[in-house]
């Protein structure tokens, strides 16, 4: 039961943080500066907070270690995504680049964190 409550809390706070960070990004000009918030830890922050409160520091540290690999993969995704969005448009380009994120993230996890 606690696990379900924790999951719901993560989902609600995660959604709210995504909206909050995207609002900050919207109002900042120029766009490239505002775009930094698109790479904000909007899901990570509530995820770590809820995990810290519900499961303790050890679980939150493990999440953070995994997140280092995920964030490195996100950098690669963004770099590939720039070209993909230019070629295929925002939706197709960004979704197509996701395979790159999976390859990099899972490889880093398998090599360093497993």
């Amino acid at each position: 039961m606690l696990a379900v409550v924790v999951l719901i809390a993560k989902a609600l706070v995660g959604g709210a943080m995504v909206v909050a960070f995207s609002l900050v990004g919207e109002v900042i000009e120029p766009r490239r500066l505002g775009g930094i918030t698109s790479g904000a830890p909007s899901v990570a922050l509530p995820g770590l907070l809820v995990t810290l409160l519900a499961s303790g520091a050890a679980a939150a540290v493990d999440l953070s270690l995994g997140m280092i690999a995920g964030a490195a993969a996100l950098v690669v995704w963004c770099l590939v995504g720039i070209d993909a969005v230019k070629r295929f448009g925002a939706l197709k380009g960004s979704v197509a680049a996701m395979s790159v994120w999976f390859v990099v993230a899972i490889s880093l996890w398998a090599l360093l964190l497993r």
């Binding site: 696990a3 924790v6 989902a11 706070v13 995660g14 943080m17 609002l23 109002v27 900042i28 000009e29 120029p30 766009r31 490239r32 500066l33 775009g35 930094i36 918030t37 698109s38 790479g39 904000a40 830890p41 909007s42 899901v43 922050l45 995820g47 907070l49 995990t51 810290l52 520091a57 050890a58 939150a60 540290v61 493990d62 999440l63 953070s64 995994g66 997140m67 280092i68 690999a69 995920g70 964030a71 993969a73 996100l74 950098v75 995704w77 963004c78 995504g81 720039i82 969005v85 230019k86 448009g89 925002a90 939706l91 960004s94 680049a97 994120w101 899972i106 996890w109 964190l113 497993r114």
Partner: protein
């Protein structure tokens, strides 16, 4: 003619436009909330099934970005979506700093770990932003208006339309980009009377048949040239408003990035701004376009309606 020079050169500032919040539809907020909630849920379920380290990967999963980019592309064009993803690259790099800081501090100082990680993200992202801009400038980045979508010209053109004005341009700075953006506004044909695009202000003066101010490397004279061009464009094309843009060629003494923008009003007065920071050729041009559009809005607000 009365001039309103900016005194010290202005720089293109990082600005906060709260009015943009109202332009975003409720549906956009709901979509982003749902994406955020679903990704958080997936990361949580993976944590339960396969452990926290694998779950941690998904705290940096790019699920929200495609939604953001798609909404942005629809609203403001692909150029803005590209600018957003370029910014997101820096934010993602900052996220590595966030995760490392959290991993180090969560066990030792759990109370301050997450605020400290957030500060690390802000410092790393903004630090990279500044570093990239400086590096691009050092490398004399070749770039052509990647960040100015056609919609950026709309507020200025709406002001011109609502005032019942016509406008013309004498452009010795942006290679015609300002006029091209203005032409993207619906109904621009009846509002933009004409544009003269030339690489140098002195040649433009000859073309327009107006006396050329003495401009040998002295900033106030470049300012006079911009004002002269604005007034000459208005007179030449018979429009209500005239815009003059002039960029000083790179010189050893003063470097590059010096631009003057002036808007001539129907009563003969002129509003003017000058810029002095060198962002690289592409971004200087981009700044001049954006600042000219802002100055048109300011001029229209000063003038009122016809």
């Amino acid at each position: 003619m009365t001039a309103h020079p900016g005194g010290e050169p202005d720089e293109e500032p990082a600005t906060v436009d709260l009015a943009k919040v109202r332009k975003i539809s409720l549906r956009d907020y709901v979509v982003r909330f749902c994406f955020g909630a679903v990704v958080s849920l997936i990361a949580g379920v993976i944590g339960l099934v396969a452990g926290d380290r694998l779950s941690g990967l998904f705290l940096a999963f790019p699920a929200i970005l495609p939604a953001t980019l798609t909404l942005l592309e629809k609203r403001e064009g692909t150029a803005q979506a590209l600018s957003d993803i370029r910014g997101a690259t820096l934010g993602a790099a900052g996220m590595i700093a966030f995760a490392i800081t959290a991993a180090i501090l969560l066990r030792r100082a759990p109370v301050i770990a997450l605020p400290a990680a957030l500060i690390a993200w802000i410092l790393a992202s903004l630090g990279l932003h500044v570093l990239m801009r400086r590096t691009a400038r050092l490398l004399v980045e070749r770039q052509y208006l990647p960040e100015v979508p056609t919609s950026d010209a709309f507020p200025a053109m709406e002001c011109v339309r609502d005032g019942g004005w016509t406008i013309s341009v004498a452009d010795a700075s942006t290679g015609g980009s300002l006029t091209a953006l203005m032409q993207g506004f619906p109904g621009a044909t009846g509002m933009v009377r004409g544009a003269l695009v030339m690489p140098a202000g002195d040649a433009m003066c000859r073309e327009l048949g107006v006396p050329q101010p003495h401009i040998e490397g002295v900033a106030p004279q470049w300012s006079a040239l911009a004002r002269t061009l604005a007034c000459a464009a208005r007179g030449h094309f018979g429009s209500d408003l005239g815009v003059g843009l002039i960029a000083e060629p790179r010189c050893a003494a003063r470097g590059a990035g010096h631009s003057w923008i002036a808007v001539s009003l129907p009563d003969g007065s002129v509003v003017e701004r000058q810029y002095s920071r060198d962002h690289g050729p592409g971004r200087n041009r981009e700044r001049d376009v954006r600042m000219a559009l802002q100055l048109i809005v300011e001029a229209c607000n000063r003038t009122g309606r016809r």
